[in-house]
Amino acid sequence: MAKDRGSSDVYVRPLRRILIGGMVLFLFAIFLLWRIDSPRVERLRAALVDQIVPSFDWALLPVTKVAGMIEGFQSYTRIFEQNQELRRELQQMKAWKEAALQLEQKNAKLLDLNNVRLDPKYTFVTGVVLTDSGSPFRQSVLLNVGERDGIVDGWATMDGIGLVGRISGVGKNTSRVILLTDSNSRIPVSIQPSGQKAMLVGDNTAAPPIEFLESPELVRPGDRVVSSGDGGVFPSGMLVGQVAMGTDRRLRIRLAADYGRLEFLRVIRSHSSEKITDPGALLTPSTLPILPTVPIMPGLAESVPPVEGAADG
């Protein structure tokens, strides 16, 4: 190496080594810290993304739109065919709409007759998709709604039709949605006509497989898949997709949400329902009214003390 830097090399070289070594150690220390205390570092990550991404929000949307327009222009040539196709579909949809209206009226009447109380209607916050994960190995998107809009970790998100994923990581102005196709996504689902429960396990492919299915022979391609609400993760009854047989003979789900064109997402507010944990507290209030000293009914007085004990424990 024909270098002549005089005496500076003697001092600079070891210093450089120390700098590089220290830096590599620092970076690996961050990795180790992440491995040990993941939630804290993930919160830091969410905060950083929250700082960086909205700052170039002004550029993200126009560029995305322009790319979409170029794509749209490519399909411009097929516009006549598409138009015909849409007209045909519209005819069919009109028939379905009529059927749905009739069924809705009938349903309302029956519910009224039976005096059924349904769950409170879910409300939602709509967010715009800012970015995707930027990595080919992670399937997630960033929304422009966050803590400021009352978003909470774990809420479900959907596009107009089907379930898309759930919130995982909330910053002040942004929140991250882990899509159902991500390899970390596990969703309890139920398969409609047979009512079987299973897990939808994301594996980085467009059609995630179903696992933990009790009797696969009852399930056939084309069955509707909805979220089951087991484990309190998601509200139940949200459309996920249809069962399809994969090329590897595994049962997979063709997702109802249009993953190619996620633009606006609805974040479904899940109201924390009252949890019933203690059977005793449910039957009698935990703070008992002052009991009369003389028992009016002998049976009742005997049954009260154990209930009180259970409520305390």
């Binding site: 002549d4 590599v24 961050i30 990795f31 993200l60 560029v63 970015t131 399937q139 899509l179 993953y259």
Partner: protein, 179 residues
């Protein structure tokens, strides 16, 4: 008074930061969100290695560490791991830079590919040891192949558009020492 060589150096450092930001920006664009598409190349690593082997003074180690730590955080990778490996790989190449000035491009390409493969293997090994959920091996291999194939393009663009060429005998730094 800033002499032209120093200002040029800082200009290129800024350019490196800018290109990295642009690459990150385009990777983050939500163009196609369907899963199972082919993983694209890691342009940032290819760019870093191409520049380190041409003008090591334009990509100081602190800048590399910072850029890749931020990209780790942005792209949901385990933070610090890939950044540390890139720093190690870049420093290895930097130490080979004076010898590789008169090597043919194919040899340089093979060397960079070797470093990339070693980095991916090390990353997978560390993630395995720390029991981290990893992407499938096939996807990672495709990603690696795309990065290796993109390296000549990155080198061509760097030298033609940005004028990052190998140091030739006779070039001097701001104090008149040969580089």
């Amino acid at each position: 008074m800033v002499d032209p060589i120093t200002s040029r150096r800082w200009l290129y450092r800024g350019l490196f930061l800018l290109i990295s930001a642009l690459v990150a920006f385009f990777q983050l664009l939500p163009l196609d969100l369907s899963a199972g598409r082919w993983p694209g190349p890691d342009i940032m690593v290819a760019l870093t290695f191409a520049w380190v082997l041409r003008r090591p003074d334009f990509v100081p180690v602190l800048l590399i560490g910072l850029v890749f730590l931020v990209s780790d955080l942005l792209f949901l990778r385990p933070p610090g791991l890939w950044a540390g490996l890139v720093v190690l790989g870049a420093e290895f190449l930097r130490s080979r830079e004076p010898q590789s000035r008169d090597l043919p491009f194919l040899v340089e390409w093979a060397m960079v590919s070797g470093v990339l493969i070693a980095m991916i293997l090390a990353s997978r090994l560390i993630q395995f040891v720390f029991v981290i959920n990893q992407p499938s091996f096939g996807l990672v291999t495709l990603h690696l192949a795309a990065t290796i194939l993109s390296y000549p393009i990155v080198v061509a663009v760097s030298s033609m558009v940005f004028g990052i060429r190998k140091i030739v005998p006779g070039e001097v730094d701001q104090l008149g020492h040969s580089l």
